[in-house]
């Protein structure tokens, strides 16, 4: 495979709050290659946003702090470089779009001003040229009547159009990596389909890499080349998208896939994962999934399993992934037929 664009190694980002230490990201590893989309999927609170904010060095500090690990990008470790250099990377080489575009657009400036500001800051062009480029970007992201929209304010646009403006802003400086944190979660499905298609086509024409964060397995299947599944601050499974969906090896991934209804397959009953995500102030010892896992036993309660290569390029963090394999072969439903024993 080609050279890595980003390499995240043993990243730990903690928050020091009154009640204790929130280990939001607790030893995360992954890489992103040029031109690929890495999907990051997991439930609320598992550390997806904090991982991406760590890459951008935008973690609120205090209370947050990158505690350990490396983020290698363009031959440098982003956790170590001075803020001044980081500012050059942000928006130039790496840019980010968020779930709720309204919170990241400034309501008192026109969308044109905001895109132009990014262009002027990073490309050293004059206002006239920046405006031309801004209109050009709005056209590229499919905003109708761009010459008119460029002078409108964010509140005059619909949710889908605001997200297009965010994408236009993020791409205006031709980044190598675009981090998209739940970019379509707040949108309707027909608008989501527009935005995903737009991102896919822009990825191709710009040749950039995308880190796509979502809790929706459908979106993951649609856009990713490879996928990292996160649970409680850790990557629990990591492989290419086809392998993940055909042969999920972690009990959590298996559960997630079978707990959602499918359009093309009818089941009488969904396989529900019992319980809920533990509080990060109160993670269990051993495997963090042991409070909900039907396969948990002995060692799972006191030793954390390592992220291990199961069969060439398929990483899984579970002591019993081979046993899960056997259960799957027998066609049993692991959650409905077992329940959690404690």
């Amino acid at each position: 495979m080609a050279e890595k664009l980003v390499e995240v190694k043993n990243l730990k980002t903690y928050f020091y709050v009154e009640e204790g230490v929130v280990k939001a990201v607790d030893g995360v590893d992954f890489e992103i290659y040029p031109g690929e989309t890495l999907g990051v999927v997991g439930e609320s609170g598992c550390g997806k946003s904090v991982t991406s904010l760590s890459i951008m060095r935008l973690v609120e500090s205090p209370p947050g702090r990158i505690e350990a690990g490396e983020i290698n990008f363009g031959g440098r470790d982003l956790t170590k470089i001075p803020e001044k250099e980081m500012r050059k990377i942000r928006g130039n080489d790496i840019s980010m779009i968020f779930q709720e575009p309204m919170t990241s657009l400034n309501p008192v400036y026109t969308v044109g001003d905001q895109i132009m500001e990014a262009i002027i800051l990073h490309k050293q062009v004059d206002r006239k040229e920046a405006r031309r480029q801004a209109i050009d970007m709005l056209t590229k992201v499919g905003i109708p009547l761009p010459e008119q929209r460029v002078d409108e304010y964010p509140h005059q646009l619909s949710g889908g159009m605001r997200q297009r403006v965010m994408i236009a802003m993020a791409l205006s400086c031709d980044p190598q990596l675009l981090i998209a944190d739940e970019p379509t979660t707040a949108l309707d499905v027909t608008i989501q389909a527009q935005i995903l298609e737009l991102m896919n086509s822009l990825k191709e024409s710009y040749g950039m890499s995308i880190m796509m964060i979502t809790h929706d397995l459908g979106v993951i299947a649609e856009v990713s080349d490879r996928v990292a599944v996160m649970y409680a601050g850790k990557v629990v499974e990591y492989t290419d998208v086809n392998t993940l969906f055909e042969d999920p090896k972690h009990p959590y991934t298996w559960g997630l896939m079978n707990s959602i209804p499918k359009l093309d397959k009818d089941v009488d009953r969904l396989e529900a994962i019992p319980g809920s995500v533990p509080s990060p102030l109160n993670f269990p010892d051993g495997c963090k999934f042991n409070t909900r896992c039907p396969l948990a036993e002995g060692k799972c309660y006191d030793q954390e399993p390592p992220l291990e290569d199961a069969d060439g390029n398929h990483m899984v963090r579970c002591w019993r992934y081979k046993d899960l394999e056997e259960i799957k072969k027998r066609g049993e439903r692991i959650y409905e037929d077992r329940g959690v024993q404690k």
Binding site: E43, P144, G160, V189, T190, A221, P261, D266, A272, S276
Partner: protein
């Protein structure tokens, strides 16, 4: 065929848009604009559509949490619109609602026992505190929660547990119809299945009828017997769920189905990507409301509103293509 528990005929709900210092009504949000459907005893009717199309307003108007602008709602043969306060209270026992947001819909200062027991007291279904607690214990058991939870407060629970409490509260008065307004949308993916399974179990056990409101078509497909698709205040298609997903007729339903990202990376879908956004319900497009976005629009579409009529057995559609 099962009889209708609920009938909704030509229901309209307009919200006034006020402006100026005298707050004069200058226009109306036509949130629900002339819809008709029935819910059969024991079935689950799914109501889907995108944000703002009028799903919640429909649910609330049926329960008379909002007063209808026009039309009628008939529950067990009786018109809900004509009831006085006393009869309305009685009928509210039979029709309960579960809300989307399990965080906002439970009073944070009440214990679980009080939250679930309150409707028992309102409807005078228990004589004293002991009786109430006994009944609450039973109901909590039905939703998979032990009595140790009774004296705790909502903030001590996870989203899924709070939604169970919401379900328990709705169940307390032994209703016939439950309107579930996006009951799993605010929950984590892994927890949604718990609540869906629970709703299905309870339906079997107590013979409940559901009007299940959601924007997630896969969830609606899983839980419903029949499905109604809404667009901008109108129902555009209504039929048996198998029929709807196999043979969608309305161009909006077709594009909605094709837009869903499926959890199968090998599947390459033929997407119908719709142009533009959902228009405002204040000044909806003329003729067929979908015409500015419809890939199949033709001559009559901007001028004449299509009739909502039966296309095949029990398959209702509002689209001019059927007359072409």
């Amino acid at each position: 065929m099962a009889e209708n528990l609920l009938e909704v005929n030509n229901l309209k709900k307009y919200f006034p848009v006020k402006a100026g210092i005298f707050k004069r009504t200058v226009d109306y949000v036509k949130a629900v604009d002339d819809i008709s459907f029935a819910v059969k005893k024991g079935e689950t009717l799914g109501l889907v559509g995108e944000s703002g199309c009028g799903k919640s307003t429909t649910g609330r108007t049926i329960l008379r949490l909002l007063e209808a602008t026009a039309g009628e709602v008939i529950f067990e043969g009786k018109s809900v619109m004509d009831l006085d306060k006393k009869d309305l209270r009685a009928i509210r026992r039979d029709m309960q609602i579960i809300f989307q947001d399990p965080y906002a819909s439970l009073n944070p200062r009440m214990t679980v026992a009080d939250i679930v027991g309150e409707p028992l007291i309102i409807h005078k279904l228990v004589e004293n505190k002991e009786e109430k607690n006994e009944r609450v214990k039973e109901i909590l058991e039905n939703v998979g929660m032990g009595e140790e939870y009774m004296n705790r407060y909502p903030h001590e629970f996870s989203g899924g547990q709070r939604q169970r409490i919401g379900v328990a509260r709705a169940l307390a008065v032994d209703p016939k119809l439950i309107i579930a307004d996006e009951p799993v949308s605010a929950l984590d993916v892994s927890v949604q299945a718990q609540v869906i399974n629970l709703l299905q179990d309870l339906q079997k056990e107590f013979g409940l009828t559901y009007l299940f409101i959601a924007h997630d078509l896969s969830v609606v497909k899983h839980i419903s017997d029949r499905v109604a698709v809404m667009y901008l205040g109108k129902i555009v298609e209504l039929t048996d769920k198998k029929e709807l997903f196999k043979n969608p007729i309305h161009p909006y339903t077709q594009s909605l189905l094709s837009a869903i990202p499926e959890a199968d990376p090998r599947k390459k879908k033929d997407r119908i990507i719709l142009e533009g956004d959902v228009p405002s319900p204040v000044d909806p497009p003329s003729g067929c409301r979908f015409h500015p976005r419809c890939p199949k629009a033709f001559d009559p579409c901007p001028k004449v509103e299509p009739e909502f009529k039966e296309y095949g057995a029990e398959h209702f559609v509002a689209c001019h293509l059927l007359d072409k």
